[in-house]
Symmetry: C2
Subunit: 126 residues, 2 copies
DNA sequence: ATTGACTATTGACAAATAGAGAATAGATAG
DNA sequence: CTATCTATTCTCTATTTGTCAATAGTCAAT
């Protein structure tokens, strides 16, 4: 009855006590958003989390961000080292973009541009 | 090694003999795209398939489109009747938007606008 | 009548992805 | 010494996606 995830987001007149959810589109932007942030400078997961929030992406669960980072590392788009310096907490993993990550980002860039123009087309029809 | 689906789309320097794939973003646009087409006028799946192709969304498998339509019908965003008139093939199911579908579409409209501006922000950082 | 091409939709299965929550753990302020 | 903030990982389950095959009507040519 109450679809948990992507399909049927944009529900109408639904329950009152439901937490804010993000649309499928938002989660699709996570990967390029992280790459872009890491292109600017190396960062660690906790910071990236805050950066995403600052962009209004506050609905994505931390574990999903961390997982996505590990997956992108498996793809060799990013690499990480444990930060040796004193932190304000446990040791943290600093990610930075690789050459392959830069290429992936270029592909993402093209895709983002395409999608943006498709969205514009769609919105014009309304 | 070769991720089959969403994660790791935007692979760099990969295999030659690989079919074109769409990014996760593209599939996220399927739902609103269908709603928009159906708002304009009732259509059946096969036509919608062609409409999507005309928009450059040529990588989405027909069965996914049909499935999405059935799912949106389950959500009561759209309704369908079997077309009685003679067709150039087997009977076809004509979908039309419901009142709830119109509301879902309004929500989608806002989301599309938000996402478009987020994409613009992202692209500016590159 | 049979074949092939195009129209049209559905079903089932495997694989991938997402969501939530708990677990772990260091640092710091009170 | 404990509560809170920082920081990351793991596991379980639910949902979504991708793919392929199956079904089936129409039409044209043979």
């Amino acid at each position: 009855m109450n679809p948990g995830h992507r399909r049927g987001w944009a529900m109408g007149g639904g329950g009152e006590g439901r937490r804010a959810r993000h649309s499928p589109l938002t989660s699709s932007l996570l990967e390029p958003a992280l790459l872009i942030l890491l292109k600017e400078q190396p960062r660690h997961g906790y910071t990236l989390l805050a950066n995403l929030e600052a962009w209004g992406i506050r609905t994505i669960h931390p574990s999903i961000v961390y997982r996505t980072l590990r997956e992108m590392e498996a793809l060799q788009w990013i690499e990480s080292d444990w930060e040796t310096a004193q932190t304000q907490g446990p040791p943290r993993r600093t990610y930075h973009l690789t050459v392959q990550g830069e290429e992936a980002l270029r592909n993402w860039q093209q895709e983002l541009a395409k999608v943006r123009s498709l969205i514009s087309q769609l919105l014009e029809l309304l």
